[in-house]
């Protein structure tokens, strides 16, 4: 429904437009825009602080992506620094760091998506089989780690992984395995990080899927009960198929974000210890270190550029796949 404008007024405008058909169309369009602007200006003013804020904080830094093609020096600034073409990328890929951090980012994120989806789906399905007060308690407990900051999770990790006092070494001691210096080793992180990610995130994803399940109409289950279906049959034949769109969508959107790593997880849990970088370093931690330590800001800008651009491509393609499956659930 069009608002504000009373019906007769609208008709008048339209008929006048027809009478002056000879006038260039562009002019009348400008006029309409001006009228629209005046009609909407109050709402526009309301949005203005946010628009300006986004402009400065989100859009201006996009200009900074040109740094990937420059040799940045603080004294010369963003625009004063020299253009160097693709030199930063060349250096990046020669140094082998690029391969390592991109591989780690992709493999870890893929692992997190798969393990997270499978576990959360299983938990949600099982929760749905229960009734009563216990559900709330389970949910609350599983949700707890979601609210702990990664810093605190780092402390918890330290309680287990510390060389001298850590609980993990103590447990291994019971079965006669000599203690490990976890922070200085490479291989264990392939298991530790996904485990921590699962521990922290599974409660949240379970809630999302559980909310999806409770949204399913009870009619299906009533009809199935009348036909004598068992609970397992109902789970496999009703709940899972009806949940499939949500699962696929979240999975694909997760894949769309596969280039964006979890900085906190990969920075605090391995405790930023050099010897484990080969298996823990991801794009986000690499860029951070390049920026804050004496690292190489130019290759960091190059890899950051790749992350932004490739990230956009993956998100947009993931979304177009979702659109093809189910229009209503696409992000855009």
């Amino acid at each position: 429904m069009e608002t504000g404008m009373p019906e007769p007024a609208k008709r008048r405008t339209r008929s006048r437009g027809k009478a002056d058909a000879a006038r260039p169309a562009a002019q009348s369009r400008i006029r309409r825009e001006i009228r629209m602007f005046r009609k909407n200006r109050e709402l526009l003013v309301l949005a203005l602080p946010g628009i300006l804020f986004k402009l400065v904080i989100a859009y201006v830094p996009m200009v900074g992506l040109i740094l990937a093609f420059k040799n940045f020096r603080y004294d010369q600034g963003l625009f004063g620094s020299k253009w160097v073409g693709l030199d930063n990328f060349e250096f990046l890929f020669k140094a082998q760091d690029a391969f390592r951090i991109i591989r780690n980012t992709l493999l870890y994120n893929f692992t997190y998506i798969v393990t997270g989806t499978v576990a959360a789906l299983l938990f949600a399905l099982l929760l749905n089989e229960l009734s009563g007060r216990m559900i709330k308690m389970y949910q609350t407990t599983m949700f707890l780690p979601f609210f702990l900051s990664m810093v605190l999770v780092g402390y918890i990790g330290n309680a287990f992984l510390d060389f001298d006092n850590g609980y993990l070494n103590k447990l291994l001691g019971y079965v006669g395995i000599s203690p490990h210096n976890w922070y200085l080793e490479k291989t264990p992180w392939i298991f530790i990080l996904p485990l921590v990610a699962l521990w922290k995130g599974v409660g949240f994803s379970t809630l999302v899927y559980y909310a999806g399940i409770t949204g399913i109409s009870p009619d299906y289950y009533e009809a199935a009960t009348l036909d004598g279906a068992t609970r397992v049959q109902m789970m496999l034949r009703i709940t899972l198929p009806l949940l499939k769109p949500l699962v696929i969508i979240l999975f694909i959107l997760g894949l769309g974000n596969i280039f964006r790593g979890d900085f906190g997880l990969h920075y605090f849990i391995p405790n930023n210890a050099g010897p484990n970088f080969p298996t823990t370093d991801i794009i986000d931690t690499y860029v951070y270190r390049a920026l804050t330590k004496l690292g190489d800001i130019n290759s960091a800008a190059a890899v950051g550029f790749l992350q932004s651009v490739v990230g956009l491509v993956t998100v947009v393609s993931a979304n177009s796949i979702v659109r093809r499956i189910d229009r209503d659930n696409a992000l855009f």
Partner: protein
């Protein structure tokens, strides 16, 4: 398998899962309550060999840095949440109005920032070289002031306000500003509360921007204080000089139990508040996940 055994085994399964999830946290609490001597002797244990409140006594005896960090965190949480809610609602409301002419371009303008960004380095240079926000409270508040995700959730809430209310207010001669502040905002108190909680938890747990922009002790929030304590201790333990410096410097740094006690004291309020507000979070998630 009968329904009863099935039910029992599912319950058993979840009890095990919940224990696995809760126990790591319990371990940290236990360590903070263990006497330093028994930590050195037996390592970390779930059941302390000797219980002790010593660590907490030490934390509260010289609470200067902790109190200051608490102050910083409380400040950014309160100011950040209020400012963020206001800005978010102010841009989400026009987007939610179907008769707003610039509805679609504005939605795209906000949404695009969710898909694409300049990345860390340009952002860092903007914040430090152009806006000169290094070592300021603003550096902790500004970056997360307007998350596109929150704007979309807020829009989802505001969509439910019936256009007739706005319409009738307009007929009564109210202007958009008045409608927004006098009608729309009061009507969306539940939405603001839910989103406000999300935002407040975000600010309370803020460490990322602190890590990037804060060196000055005056502006260290709780989480950054924890980062520093842990990395100092770890640096000592892993450095080649550890054994030499151990005896010399150990006294200067929080000992094992004190470290964990600090972590508990820093995150305590959140953990106490969390179960009460979980309900709101669940509601928010349901809205956010079904249609972002």
């Amino acid at each position: 398998m009968s329904a009863r055994t099935l039910n029992l085994s599912i319950n058993a399964f979840f009890i095990v899962v919940c224990l696995l999830i809760a126990l790591p946290f319990v371990l940290v609490v236990s360590i903070s309550l263990t006497s330093e001597d028994s930590l050195h002797q037996f390592g970390y244990q779930f059941l302390p060999h000797t219980w002790s409140w010593e660590a907490y006594r030490i934390v509260f005896e010289k609470p200067d840095s902790l109190l200051r960090a608490y102050g910083v965190t409380a400040f950014i949480t309160v100011v950040g949440t209020v400012a963020s809610l206001l800005l978010t609602a102010m841009i989400a409301y026009p987007i939610s109005r179907r008769d707003f002419h610039y509805n679609r371009p504005l939605t795209f303008y906000v949404f695009f920032t969710m898909l694409f960004n300049g990345g860390l380095i340009p952002f860092y240079i903007l914040m430090t070289q152009y806006l000169h926000l290094k070592n300021s409270l603003a550096a902790l508040i500004i970056p997360s002031l307007m998350s596109p995700f929150n704007i979309m959730i807020m829009k989802g809430f505001l969509d439910k306000i019936s256009p007739e209310i706005v319409e009738s207010a307009k007929i009564d001669g109210a202007r958009e500003f008045r409608i927004f502040f006098r009608i729309v905002l009061p009507l969306s108190t539940p939405a603001l509360a839910t989103l406000g909680l999300f935002i407040a938890f975000g600010y309370w747990n803020e460490w990322y921007n602190a890590l990037l922009f804060i060196d000055d002790d005056k502006y260290i929030p709780l989480q950054l204080l924890l980062v520093r304590i842990l990395s100092q201790a770890e640096f000592l333990a892993n450095s080649p000089m550890a054994e030499v410096s151990d005896k010399l410097r150990f006294a200067q740094f929080p000992t094992l139990s004190v470290r964990m006690a600090m972590a508990i004291v820093a995150s305590g309020p959140m953990l106490i508040v969390f179960p009460f507000f979980q309900r709101y979070f669940v509601k928010g998630i349901a809205v956010g996940s079904l249609k972002g």
